[in-house]
């Protein structure tokens, strides 16, 4: 089975006759016999996912790394975190997905009108099943708990991932950057309610 290990800013992907899907162009080095090819439509999610992504504007471009050996993956010297998923679902912003290993399915989750102005995507990527997910963040992730009665509001450009039973909604009354006139800003914020955890990065995309 393919295995992902985080080593600060590099993600090590060990393949033994197996396949890891990784962000296109993220390979910085490899050892052994590994072949790289485009994962195809919808980041390997198939035709349906590709169509949905086209509609949603949530873009993801993955390559398949197959063979025997170790692949070193990195993206702009960002921090790497490996998430182990066991029959569960994680929501991740597509541009933070560095690698996907095991039986994980990627799909698009619509989230309303979010990101209409930034092109941040109308939707996020839902990762379901069992396996490992390598994600990148600009600076260490900050985990924030959401419990009933304690909603959390997040800048869409700092949002990285979410897990648990979360309801995501848009707040337009609060604006982060473009309150008055100039500056192509983000007029929406994300509001999370329910029970779960949200991960943000200490930087804006």
């Amino acid at each position: 089975m393919a295995r992902l290990t985080a080593n600060k800013k590099v993600l090590l992907a060990d393949v033994a006759g197996t396949t890891v899907r990784a962000m296109s162009g993220s390979m910085v080095a490899y050892q052994g016999q590994v072949e790289f090819k485009s994962a195809g439509m919808g980041g390997g999610g198939g035709f349906r996912a590709a169509i949905r992504q086209r509609v949603a504007g949530e873009s993801i471009s993955l390559m398949e790394c197959t063979g025997n050996g170790r692949v070193h993956l990195a993206y702009q010297a960002q921090d790497v975190t490996v998430i182990n998923v066991q029959n569960d679902t994680v929501t991740v912003e597509s541009e933070h997905i560095l690698a996907v290993a095991g039986e994980l399915k990627l799909d698009v989750q619509f989230a309303g009108l979010r990101g209409m102005t930034t092109g941040q995507g109308l939707a996020t990527t839902k990762v379901m099943g069992s396996g490992q997910l390598g994600i990148v963040s600009d600076g260490p992730l900050i985990g924030l708990e959401v419990v009933p009665g304690q909603p959390l509001v997040v800048d869409p450009d700092a949002y990285v991932a979410g897990l648990g039973n979360l309801q995501m909604s848009l707040v337009s009354g609060v604006s982060w950057r473009s309150l008055v006139g100039d500056g192509g800003g983000e007029p929406f914020s994300l509001r999370f309610e329910g029970h779960g955890r949200v991960y943000i990065q200490p930087a804006e995309r």
Partner: protein, 251 residues
């Protein structure tokens, strides 16, 4: 089941009160008002309202007295209410500083927030603002902040700010001065080979430096420079425009 994420998790009550969450993020325990730079907020819990400085000033007259920089009013908001607000900037180091009956001048793009007990004024040096009074403020730096005592010469890119009363002046290497006046003008518009121009600090105080700087676009800086071109007559303004066009074509 999901595991493997080792990063600490916080909630509204466990988040630090007026302290760093990690070296790159700071949690403000809001009970009242703070001035916050627009791009700096990344998340919040609680009942917090954000309003543009000029918008808020129409409701609360003290704001105009505290924030006397119309140029930057559109880059700042007033956060009002109760809760925890997390601020961060491009993944840079974020630190809080306490000013006690003092004054400190800082690069506007590196100032993330300050308490309303402090007063903000525009510095004479373009792109810098001065904080006066007693209170807490938050600033970001690319790498840890280095404190230096004058006399000292600083590279403008790495200069973060200065406290108390060292007086900054521009310093040019003498061979640069010896060149033609036109070369000097070109230098002012960025066509310089590197380190000819420095800020020279004399007097008593502290100079704050960062290890490097990636320039962030400061919308207000352009307005400031543009307003200063009023000093030029029509002919020199035309020549300046011509030179700027040339420069943008080179890049």
């Amino acid at each position: 089941m999901i595991d493997g994420i080792e990063t600490p998790t916080w909630d509204a009550s466990s988040l630090p009160a007026d302290d760093n969450v990690n070296p790159y993020a700071f949690s403000i325990a809001l009970a009242g008002e703070w001035f916050v730079s627009k791009g700096a907020m990344i998340a919040y819990y609680g009942n917090v309202e954000f309003a543009g400085v000029s918008q808020y000033a129409s409701r609360a007259s003290w704001v105009a007295a505290r924030f006397s920089s119309p140029l930057y009013a559109s880059e700042w908001v007033v956060a009002a209410g109760q809760g925890k607000v997390i601020v961060a900037d491009r993944g840079y180091d974020v630190n809080s500083y306490d000013l006690d009956e003092g004054n400190l001048t800082i690069k506007q793009t590196n100032l993330l927030g300050f308490q309303t007990s402090l007063e903000l004024k525009q510095s004479i040096v373009p792109g810098f603002v001065t904080l006066i009074g007693t209170g807490k403020f938050l600033a970001s730096s690319n790498g840890p902040v280095i404190f230096v005592e004058p006399p000292f010469r600083a590279d403008p890119d790495a200069l973060l700010g200065w406290a108390d009363c060292p007086s900054p002046s521009q310093h040019y290497d003498h061979h640069w001065m010896a060149q033609s006046f036109m070369a000097g003008i070109q230098g002012m518009f960025g066509r310089e080979s590197g380190e000819e121009r420095q800020y020279d600090f004399t007097g008593a105080g502290t100079v704050l430096m960062q290890s490097s700087e990636q320039l962030r676009v400061d919308g207000a800086l352009m307005k400031l420079v543009e307003s200063q071109t009023n000093l030029l007559d029509a002919q020199s303004a035309g020549a300046l425009g011509h030179r700027l066009v040339q420069r943008s074509q080179q890049q």
